[in-house]
C-alpha cells in the first residue's frame, strides 16, 4: 500500500484534545441514554400516580455535597491546566493532587450514601436505574482519578510541561464532562427526585 508523504498541516488541531473531546462526547451520550430511560420511566410512574422512590429515600444533602465537591474540582482542574501551561510544577502538583483527592472524596461519599440508602438494587425500577446511573458515573469518575494520578506521576518526573500540555487539557475535557453529567444527576435525581 502506498504511503503518501505530504507536508503536515500548518496548524494541526491538537490530536489528544480532539480524541478526548470525542471520547467525552461518547461518555456523555451513554449517560444521555440512561437519563432518557430514567426520566421516561419516572414520567410514566408519575402519570399513573405510582410511587417512584419511597418517601425520604433520596436525601438532598449527600448529592448536594458531591455537587459542591465536584464544582471545586472544576476550579482545581482549570488550575492544573493553567499551571502546566505556565511550566509551574509546584502548582501543577497541588492542582492535580487536589483534583484527584476531590474525585476520591466524591466516590467515597457516593459509596457511603448508596450503602446508607437502605434500598437494594432490585427494590424497584427506580432503584435499578439509580444504582446503574450513579454506579456508571462513579466508574467514569474513577477513570478520571486514575488518569489524574498518572499525570501527577508524570508531573513529578518533570514531564508535564508546556510542551505536553495537551495531556492535561485532554483530561480536563473528560473531567468537565464528568462534572456536567453529575450536575444532571444532582438536578434530575437528587433534587427533582
Amino acid at each position: 500500500m502506498s504511503n503518501t508523504v505530504l507536508p503536515p498541516a500548518e496548524s494541526r488541531p491538537r490530536t489528544l484534545v480532539t480524541g478526548a473531546v470525542l471520547g467525552s462526547i461518547t461518555s456523555v451520550m451513554f449517560f444521555a441514554g440512561l437519563f432518557a430511560i430514567y426520566f421516561s420511566m419516572r414520567a410514566d410512574a408519575n402519570a399513573w400516580g405510582s410511587e417512584w422512590f419511597p418517601e425520604g429515600a433520596i436525601q438532598l444533602v449527600p448529592g448536594g455535597m458531591n455537587m459542591a465537591t465536584l464544582s471545586l474540582s472544576v476550579v482545581t482542574m482549570a488550575w492544573a491546566v493553567r499551571s502546566v501551561s505556565n511550566n509551574d510544577r509546584i502548582h501543577a502538583y497541588l492542582a492535580l493532587g487536589l483534583t484527584a483527592l476531590l474525585g476520591v472524596a466524591v466516590i467515597n461519599q457516593t459509596v457511603f450514601y448508596l450503602n446508607d440508602i437502605g434500598l437494594p438494587v432490585d427494590y424497584s425500577k427506580a432503584t435499578t436505574l439509580l444504582f446503574t446511573i450513579v454506579g456508571a458515573h462513579m466508574t467514569m469518575l474513577g477513570i478520571g482519578v486514575i488518569w489524574n494520578l498518572l499525570l501527577l506521576i508524570r508531573a513529578f518526573g518533570g514531564q508535564d510541561t508546556r510542551r505536553h500540555q495537551d495531556l492535561v487539557s485532554a483530561l480536563s475535557f473528560y473531567w468537565y464532562a464528568g462534572v456536567a453529567v453529575y450536575s444532571i444527576i444532582w438536578i434530575g435525581i437528587y433534587i427533582a427526585k
Partner: protein, 534 residues
Amino acid sequence: MTTTDIAPDSVAVTSEQNQTFVERLVTNTSNSSIGKSWIFSGCIYFLLSTVLGFLLDIVRFDSDSYLIFSNVDKFFQFWSLHRTSIVLLAVVPMIIGLAMCVVPPQIGANSIIFPRAAAFGFWVWFLGSGITVFGFLADGGFGSPELDSQREAVALTLVGLLLVIAGICVSVICLLTTIISGRCMGMNLRRIPVFSWTIMVSGTLWILTLPVLAANSIIAYVDLRGRSAIYFGSEDVIWDQISWVFTHPQIYVFVLPLIGIAYDIVPVAVKVRQKLYNHDLVLIFSSLFGIIGFGAYAQPFFDTPGTPVREEALYVLTAFLAVPLALLLFGGLFETLRMGSKNLTRHPPAPLILSLLSIFLLISGAVVGALRAIEPFELLSTSSNTAQMKLTIGAGLVAIIAAMLWWGGLIVGKTAKQGFGLISGILITAGSLLSGLADSVNGFLGLDDFTTVGFLQEVSAEQIVKILIAFSFIGSVLILGGAVALILVELLRFKNGPVSELDPWEGHTLEWTDEIVMVESERPLLDEVGKTGT
C-alpha cells in the same frame, strides 16, 4: 539537560524479525494491518450471518423444519443473532476496516492517529464478538419469548455486546481524530473526498448512538445479573429494548459510507470531474441523510402510553425525507454518468456497476421505510421491518464489495478478479431485492416481523403468503451465494492475485499517489494533470 540519541537496538530489531505470525498480528499497529484484520473478521461474520439467515428462512419456508433450532426460543435467539451479527459483526466492521486502510492516505495523513488505541479497539471488538456469539450458543442471546434461555448466558451476551460497542467506538474515535486533526496542508473540510466525509458523518453518528445502545444493555445487565429481574433484564423484553438499532431510522446510519464509496468511484470510472458545487451538495445531502438516520430517540419499548414514538411527526418525517434524499444522491451520480457516458466502454468497471446497484438498493430500502411509517397500513411490527433491513444492509454489502474491488489493490497489494466480484455483488443485490420485496408485500398481508412457528403454520394456509415466503427464501439462497463468492474472490486474490498497479483507475484523490501533491481542490490529482497538461 542533555538529550542523547542512541542507535536502534540491534537485538530488538532481530527479535521483531523473528516474531511469529500471531505475534506480529497482535502487536501490529499499522493502519493497513488493523484495517485488514477488521475486513477479514467482518467477512467471516458476514458468511456466518448469511448461513444463519438461510437457516432461518428454511424455517419460514417450511415451518415443520423449526426443529433445526430445537425449539421456538432457540429460533428466536438465532433470529436476533442474525440481525445483530449482520450489522455489528459484519457490515460495520468491514466499513471500519476499509476506512482504516483508505481514509488516512486519502486525506494525506501518514497513518491513523492513536494507532495503539486503534489496535486496542479492534481486539476489544474481536473479543466482544466472540463472547456475543458464545453467549448465543450457550443458550443465552438477548433472551427469549418463553423465558427458556440461560440467564448467565444472557448476561454474557450483554457483556459481549458492550465490548463490541466499546471496540467500535474506540476505533471510530481514532478515525474521526485522524480526519479532524491529521489532514495534510491544504486539505480543508470542503476538500475531503466523499468517502472520508461520509466516514466522518457516520462515525460521528455511531459515537452518538451506539453509547445509547450500551446504556440499554447495561441497564438490562444490572437488572439481570445475579437476581430476579425487575423489568429491564426480564428475558422476554431485552430484545425489545435494543431492537431500535436494527430498524428505521438507525439502520441508515450504518450504511451511510456507501454514498461516499459510490461518489469516489463513479466520477473516476467515467473519467469526469464533478463540479465543485456538486461536491458541496453531495457533502450536504450525505450529512442530511446521516442526520435523519439518528435513531437513538426512536425506542418504542419506552413509549409513553398514548404517544407511540413511531407515530410522532419526527419519526414519520425522517422516513419520508430519506426517499428524496436518496433520489437526489442517485441523481447526482446519474448526472456524472451522463457527463462521462462517452468515456464508458462496453464493459464498465465492476465497482461502477455495484456502486449504482447499492444506491438503487438504498432507495428501495428508503421507500419501504416510508411505507412502514404510514400509520393506516399498520406495517410497523410486520415483516416490512425485515424487508427494510435486508434492502438497506444489502445496499451496504454491495457497496463494500465495490469498495474492495476498487481499493483492494491498495489494501492487499494484489488485484482481484473483477468478474467474480461483480457476480458476488449482483447475487447479493438480486437476493436482497427478491427477499426484501417479498417480505415487504408479506408485511401488507400481516406477516409478523418475528414469526413464531404456530403463526407461520396459520398464515402459511394463505397461498400468496406461502409463495412470497418462497421468494424470500430464494433471495436468501442468492445472498448466501453472493457471500460465498465474495469469500472466494478475496481468497483467490490473496493466493494468486497479480500484483496491483499503484493507480490502476487513474484516481483523483491522494490515496492513489505516493508523491508530494499540493492540495488545492477536492480532487488534487486532477489539478496536477491540469497543470502539467498531460
